[in-house]
Subunit: 211 residues, 2 copies
Amino acid sequence: MKKQLKIKPVADSSTEEKIKNAARIIFHKKGYAATRTRDIAEEAGINLALLNYYFRSKEKLFDIIMLESLHDFRQHIIVALNDEKTSLESKIETLVSNYIDLLINQPDIPLFILSEIRNNPQALISKLNQKEIITKSYFIKQFQQAVQEGKIVHINPLHYIMNLIGMIVFPFVGRPILSYVGQLKQDDFNNLMEQRKILIPKWLKAISKVK
Amino acid sequence: MKKQLKIKPVADSSTEEKIKNAARIIFHKKGYAATRTRDIAEEAGINLALLNYYFRSKEKLFDIIMLESLHDFRQHIIVALNDEKTSLESKIETLVSNYIDLLINQPDIPLFILSEIRNNPQALISKLNQKEIITKSYFIKQFQQAVQEGKIVHINPLHYIMNLIGMIVFPFVGRPILSYVGQLKQDDFNNLMEQRKILIPKWLKAISKVK
DNA sequence: GTCTATATACGGATAGAC
DNA sequence: GTCTATCCGTATATAGAC
């Protein structure tokens, strides 16, 4: 059971990878409860029994997918917020841009995580780890510094965080409705998201002046 | 089977209402697939068989709850956006305020709807009805008017809608995480949302000037 | 209308052949 | 490692007594 490289996995080569990739797709799309192991097997093009052979149970397979998804979801925030070399503004820019790139590739991650947390809060919230990752980040230090200097209006930083993450994530969470209302095709939607990479930092800047 | 008044239902009096209220709570909290009819019966304090006696099946009961939830969720937008008497600004103010009030009372509605749409897009999206409710609303007319007059920067109105709805809804969708990160109690959270009633319209105004 | 007991279906998991 | 066949628990739904 060789561990494969994170960056460039050998695609769908091994059966194990095939199952994991299929599981990610189905779990992300339907959530734990609505997913049937038979669907995963079919998506992976393998026999149902193999799923249990490799992963013992639906739950164990799910835990693996959830852990990886949480990792992806968090990592973009943590890394960006804790870079001590960059300014507040450029931190926002990289975070927004990287995040939107992730979501264009895996648009179902946020709704997946949020709805599973709803179904099982205590179990999952703890897996988010250190609640201080945001509140004690270098970003927050810089933020409070900027408030002191009068560059940002005095306000609960949580509002700022909600707006930041919400502006990035919400369009993906509401994509089906949005695409329906706006009659958007896949590409139309992605183009809008590309625009937001530039717009969101500007908007946040404007907001941070509002009393 | 007398139809009861919408505004002031005779609370939990009838068994039918008891079941519906219980179903709303459980479905909102866990979604269709993860909900067991036994849980609903227990929550309602009635025998499991009665559920089928009154509503025939889990699915039929679910459809009723979903339809009502969609109605609540939409109605606040539609009514506010189509009032021809009010200015653009005051439309926003009422919409934000009414919406946040609804969500403080039923905080699980958005995640409920969004995750069920994800599980079954085509079936539910159609129930949203007329895709023109937003794009052909009086609000959009006023919006485009304001753009013409140079009061609002020229931009795809969908960005504006995403920001508007996202700022309102996202904190509720991400509430478990937010409350965890910010160490918020129920009241702390609600207070933040009350603040947003005032702040969101101001923020949107600032955003609408950003090039 | 409400209950107890039970039928039926479905989905996760395993035994055992290859 | 991979398949077929099958087991078994769980959840929905109904039959029938009260």
